[in-house]
Amino acid sequence: MSEESNIDIYRRRFLSGTATAAAGLAVSPGVLLTEVAHAKPADEAVTSAVRWGMLIDTNKCNNGCNDCVTACNEEHNLEGFGRPTTDAQWIRTVDLKDKQTGNVQTLPMLCQHCEHPPCVDVCPTGASFKRDDGIVLVDKHICIGCRYCMMACPYKARSFVHETLHDQMPYSPRGKGTVESCTFCVHRVDEDMQPACVEACSANDHNAMTFGDMNDPDSSLSQQLKQYSSRQIRADLELNTGVRYRGI
């Protein structure tokens, strides 16, 4: 009997070892688990046939993990000036603490790319706008820096650039006196790539973020939204956010 149980233990170890190795292969760094299947020619305008969205599984967000934030800061060269209250922040981690049990959850908070964005409603110049494919942006050529949109956003998703900037990325122009926020990495999305945060999350084997087309019932995002219960933050405002959360 004792021999048999030892063999069982060895078998179990072997199986679990191979399973881990297989899992490691399946999500090796840099490999995208879900490809965005919407090739758009460069000379064609975006259409409302697509609505880009994101699902964040907060159960997979480890406390203290900051990979999505780091990736965003690197991608858009969001340098800090040692002023945490006003430094630009396109995505941040928020800790939710259940006061009764002491349980702490971490979740990334970014522009929720609402279907009915309050920032667009209040913008006096039309700089704040929603693209046809659902991505909410600031046209900084038109922005006068009044910051109404920052007051209107229930998610505190927007930042104002207070400092003169240098070394901006060619695909991510940023400048003093304008408001900015998460663009869903629109420069990547237009090239059929995933946002930098999503790519970093899956490259580091967390796989907490899924990006895709909410209008396409076959997309990985739509499938997951159908299968699992998810929530919009401040759903009571009826903004129909493009970013949904699981596990909160």
Partner: protein, 170 residues
Amino acid sequence: MLKYSLITLIFSLLLGVYTPGMAADASSDENTSGPFIPKAQRRYSDTQGCVEPTDEMRTNHMEYILDQRDATVHEGIRTKQYSLTECINCHVSAAPDAPHADSEKHFCNSCHTYAGVTIDCFQCHADRPVKSRFQPLSKNGGHPVNTAGAPVALTAEQPQVLANEGIGNE
């Protein structure tokens, strides 16, 4: 009367001094041919240097850039022909010591200083080619100068795209 004659005298003196000066400036312009304009990195095609004939670009480049700006920001149209990023990729050196937009040696600023026109494009936009982590798929019009890191194998259609842009002719 003395006052008026003095003023007339001063005016005539000023004119007298200034007119030959203007003439001298005009003649020196012909010699140095205006501002120093850095050479572009590559040609658009065999017959054409820039994306439109040079005279047209010198007169109307701002119109092309403005139209492209709205198309890109609002509609996600990312063609390369009139893209400001591609202007910079071709007209400004990628060397680490390449001039910034506030230098008179920068392609844009060389002319704009000469013409006395202040532009604010580069308060936000990159004024030099930047190597970045982001490498777009070139089938949608990627940035050949921006490719950083390991070389990526060309897809079937890429050589044709590059040839169309005159990159392969170098």
